[in-house]
Symmetry: C2
Subunit: 227 residues, 2 copies
DNA sequence: ACTCATTACTGAGTATAGTCCGAAATGTAG
DNA sequence: CTACATTTCGGACTATACTCAGTAATGAGT
């Protein structure tokens, strides 16, 4: 690393780095390696079957270092899965606002919104349940748990938007809080049914039927209140 | 001190159990000691802060013996909490069928049914969330987890009964499955909101307001479908 | 009562998530 | 460069849920 020539003119250390210091870059690179290692191993063997040692090894960092980037094994899972969640949430929102979907009835619109989430959830069986568990029951103060909660809140907001749009605005101020409430109920049902289905290996068709029925129920209740 | 009666141990099919051999009695006595020890320690320090060693010590059995009576620390919690759940579910059912409550509107009736569960849940803060977590995400094959699921199913049945009674029987066979579905939605919401409230230490009034509103929503949706 | 098969108990042992403090690397000033 | 400050790293260490192979207790057959 270091040139030990004795003929003077060593380059000043701090001038070369235009963007960030070595430290910053090292951290970023390690963060990326840890993320990749965790993502690969979880996908390959499932959350429970992977040890933090394995992740550290594949990321080529010491065991202790791992916990400087994610304070907990569960946080590693949240870190990895949040990315998918965010991506699928974005896809869902885009699909909902597509021209043909934008005019549809509220229940199909909600289903359009959550379909990417469900599909991804059903694909990675074992990890989805663990992810849901950590979202619901993890330490609220941890970083990636907090991020996950933000995503859940965004999902609820999107659902509330669909519901509110479906009800001819009656101009009452309660309308907003009602849609928020209904969205929360839908979100509750979605999370629990998704977790249950992946754990019990419910066939997708059955799962979808039950989920749809419950969403219809809640939507009906919401719309009925508007009169 | 908690429950002293060990209503657990469903006695092997061998019917003459009351005065069976020493072995059987020894097991029962140990089971009772373990139950009591776990109940006391969980109540006193909270699930997470108690080690299986402590439980074994207080129950005066070896560490390994503990796991012959409950295959997991989580199973110990389920074992203990199931008793309370069952007791409170019974109280709720009794209250609902009391003369004055029997004629009330469905939402108040449902609230009457679940109030004992909620009150108990709010009392033992930390353990309630852990209990809900294990009910939803525990190994489905474990004994006390299975018992808990039966209780949840009974709760849903009770809710479905209230709902069905509130809708003037339209004689269609779909009525039953509708009420089951709505009951499931209510149960989903109840479990998640209860867990969330205990974790976030939401004040009881706020929690009750939100829970009630969601139950009203679902009930309205259920009744609206009957037309 | 003696033998033997079966069941229950035990506690040292194992695996692994998470901690801690000294070491190393990086940046800063004279 | 040398000295010092601050941040990051590392891996031996700890705590604890759970296991397992050996041991003891029980009860049935004779």
């Amino acid at each position: 690393m270091r040139s030990d020539r004795h003929t003077v003119v060593p380059a000043p250390p701090n001038a070369a780095n235009n963007s960030t210091g070595r430290r910053e870059r090292n951290k970023e690179v390690k963060q990326a390696r840890i993320f990749a290692a965790a993502a690969e191993l979880f996908a390959e063997h499932g959350y429970a079957a992977v040890t933090t040692q394995q992740i550290a090894e594949r990321a080529d960092v010491a065991n202790g270092t791992l916990f400087r980037y994610a304070s907990t094994k569960a946080e590693l899972l949240l870190m990895v899965c949040n990315d998918d969640f965010r991506r699928n949430l974005d896809r869902g929102r885009r699909n909902v606002s597509a021209p043909d979907a934008a005019a549809a009835a509220p229940v199909p619109r909600i289903l359009t919104l959550v379909t990417p989430l469900i599909v991804a959830g059903r694909r990675s069986d074992a990890n989805t349940a663990a992810y849901q568990r950590e979202i619901m029951f993890g330490e609220p103060t941890e970083r990636y748990r907090a991020e996950a909660l933000v995503l859940v809140a965004e999902l609820q907001l999107a659902i509330a938007g669909i519901l509110a749009a479906a009800r001819p605005s009656t101009s009452t101020s309660t309308s907003t809080s009602d849609s928020t409430l209904a969205a929360r109920a839908v979100s509750n049902v979605l999370h629990l049914e998704l977790a249950r289905a992946t754990l019990a290996e419910t066939p997708p068709t059955v799962f979808l039927t039950e989920l749809t029925a419950q969403i219809e129920l809640i939507t009906r209740g919401y719309l009925a209140a508007g009169q």
